[in-house]
């Protein structure tokens, strides 16, 4: 039996790969409570990575997508609406399977893109890993969901604000930067907080679908499931992972709450929007 300290040293970074701790995961009767706590905790590294990077990229893409959907030009509006419909109307689980099986079909050696005098070689082998391919699916998915939220916020920007901006003689870009964008963000922020929470929770699906967990390095729920398969006892690992996710959720609410305070700081107190936690996880 390992002591708790040995478990900590062996497994707290194990999710990064087999060079970062014990080579093998604990098995059968050798599993201690500390093993479960630390190995599942190490899996959170990937949950944070997937959620953080996807939200970062998804945020900017979603703004573009929302503006495109709101635009009156049908060449922007229709593709954006279709994109949002496809990614919001189908299960993320199936999206993972679809993109994985599509990425597998790409040639291993990479794709050559001739650009006149130079040839750009796209590296495609990374796309079949969860860390790149799975991340791309998550980015596309959160882009669609957030774009819908931002689009709703764009629609509800007060008319007077826009007229005031015009009256000041702002050009389109300045108007967007100084009036439209801050208002949109402020109006969408409470729902966007919930979107960030859902996204974090749906990172648990990455390794449960098609993407392989190489060297048994997976995210927190992957390890929880591993322990339940080994011990046939769902009453330890699942509550641990649930507790970790509740902590993660609270951290997100705290972080987004700070931003929300900043976005609302110019408003009188009774007009400020409060963040309400409305979890509806499955996407």
């Amino acid at each position: 039996m390992r002591t708790c300290l040995e478990s900590f040293e062996g497994y707290i970074l194990r999710a990064l790969g087999r060079d970062f701790g014990e080579r093998l995961l604990p098995r059968n009767l050798d599993i201690t409570l500390c093993d479960q706590m630390f190995l599942i905790a190490s899996g959170l590294i990937w949950n944070v990575y997937f959620a953080g990077v996807a939200i970062l990229f998804g945020f900017f893409l979603a703004i573009g997508m929302a503006v495109a959907k709101f635009s009156q030009n049908k060449w922007l509006n229709i593709p954006a609406s279709v994109f949002i419909f496809v990614f919001r109307g189908s299960p993320l689980f199936i999206q993972f399977f679809f993109f994985y099986s599509a990425f597998v079909l790409l040639p291993r050696s990479g794709i050559d893109i001739p650009l006149g005098f130079v040839t750009l070689t796209l590296d495609t082998s990374a796309l079949t890993t969860a860390q790149v391919g799975g991340l791309i699916v998550l980015i596309l998915n959160t882009t669609a969901y957030s774009a819908e939220l931002f689009h709703g916020a764009l629609r509800s920007i007060p008319k007077g604000d826009l007229e005031a901006a015009d009256a000041y003689g702002m050009n389109a870009l300045t108007k967007f930067r100084r009036v439209v964008f801050p208002s949109m963000l402020r109006l969408a922020w409470p729902s966007y907080t919930n979107e960030a929470i859902f996204l974090t929770h749906s990172t648990t699906l990455v390794f449960l679908s098609a993407f392989p967990a190489r060297q048994q390095s997976g995210e927190a729920f992957y390890y929880a499931r591993y322990f339940v398969d080994q011990t046939f006892n769902p009453f330890v690992a699942y509550p641990i992972v649930a507790a970790y996710f509740i902590l993660l959720t609270l951290a997100i609410i705290g972080l987004y709450g700070l931003v929300n305070r900043r976005l609302n700081r110019h408003l009188p107190k009774e007009r400020r929007q409060r963040i309400r936690f409305r979890p509806q996880y499955i996407r």
Binding site: G89, S90, P91, N233, P234
Partner: protein
């Protein structure tokens, strides 16, 4: 299926595909789509019933019942759903066997959890040992329905509770002025009118439920995801219908199936909302009244 299907390797393309899409395994794939529909058809009413009970508990003035309702709704909503989907079937299965064990074999002296094994006596196995294959399938399906109903019941309870509170207070007060009891007012006034307030929330939950159905795969049920993986995988010339890796196309078909389902439900809920708004004291109901006049 077709008479010309005896030797597919010599067939021209369209006949090859006609035979390929009508072979026995493909029919199991098509049946799996039926399983999704059945799951939705069974889970939705069960979840609605669970949600109704939950909402009544939330409204109840008896505090243990009220606390039970609050605890249920908040615990399910606070924990990631995926944990629940995998936790409930296995925990419930072990729970049932544990109870059966104590009923059937009271004089069993060994512990049930021995190391990593969960051991109950022979008579306590659920479903009974050596049952037919379909009994196991049905049991797994029932477990899945239970897990879905528990999770979605909590969502529904929350929505229905909100809808009950949204019914204008004056109407309930009027009912009480007529001498109706609390239960009567609920049955005659609140219950018929709450649906128009509940529909937007319920339609949201329905869409989430539709998108949760592929998780059946994780419960070890041979659902559409399972068959798409099986059928789409590369088949060598040892098989009757050899082909390359076609999983992408099979998953594309699933994607389209789900898009169609969500699109149809959006449409259906729109119609239902129109119907329910008739004669209601809401903006939509008022618009209908004016259009008719």
């Amino acid at each position: 299926m077709f008479s010309f299907c005896t030797d597919p390797s010599v067939l021209p393309d369209w006949q090859w595909f006609a035979c390929y899409f009508t072979n026995a395994t493909h029919f199991q794939f098509y049946r799996a789509f039926g399983v999704v529909i059945v799951l939705l058809a069974v889970t939705a009413p069960v979840a609605l019933a669970v949600g109704m009970l939950g909402a009544m508990a939330l409204r109840s003035r008896i505090w243990p019942l009220n606390w039970l309702g609050k605890g249920y709704v908040n615990i399910v909503r606070g924990v990631p759903d995926l944990v629940f989907f995998l936790f409930v079937p296995i925990a419930l299965g072990q729970g049932i066997e544990w109870v059966m064990h104590h009923i059937q074999c009271p004089d069993w002296d060994q512990p049930i959890r021995q190391g990593n094994d969960f051991i109950v006596c022979r008579d306590a196995k659920v479903p009974p040992l050596n049952s037919a294959r379909w009994v196991y399938d049905l049991y797994a399906f029932a477990m899945a329905v239970t897990a879905f109903a528990l999770v979605f019941g909590a969502f529904v309870a929350n929505t229905l509770h909100g809808a009950m509170q949204a019914v204008p207070k004056a109407q309930v007060e009027a009912a009480e002025a007529y001498g109706m009891t609390r239960a009567q007012a609920f049955r005659r006034i609140v219950l018929p009118q709450m649906w128009v307030y509940a529909i937007p929330g319920l339609s949201n939950i329905w869409q989430i439920l539709v998108k949760a159905t592929p998780l059946l795969f994780l419960l070890g049920i041979q659902d559409i995801v399972y068959w798409a993986r099986e059928l789409g995988g590369q088949k060598t010339s040892l098989f009757t219908y050899p082909h390359d890796d076609w999983r992408m196309w099979y998953f594309l078909a699933l994607l389209c199936f789900y898009l169609f389902l969500t699109w149809v439900s959006e449409f259906a809920f729109g119609r239902l909302n129109e119907r329910l708004s008739r004669g209601q004291a809401t903006a939509a109901g008022e618009r209908q009244r004016k259009a008719a006049a």
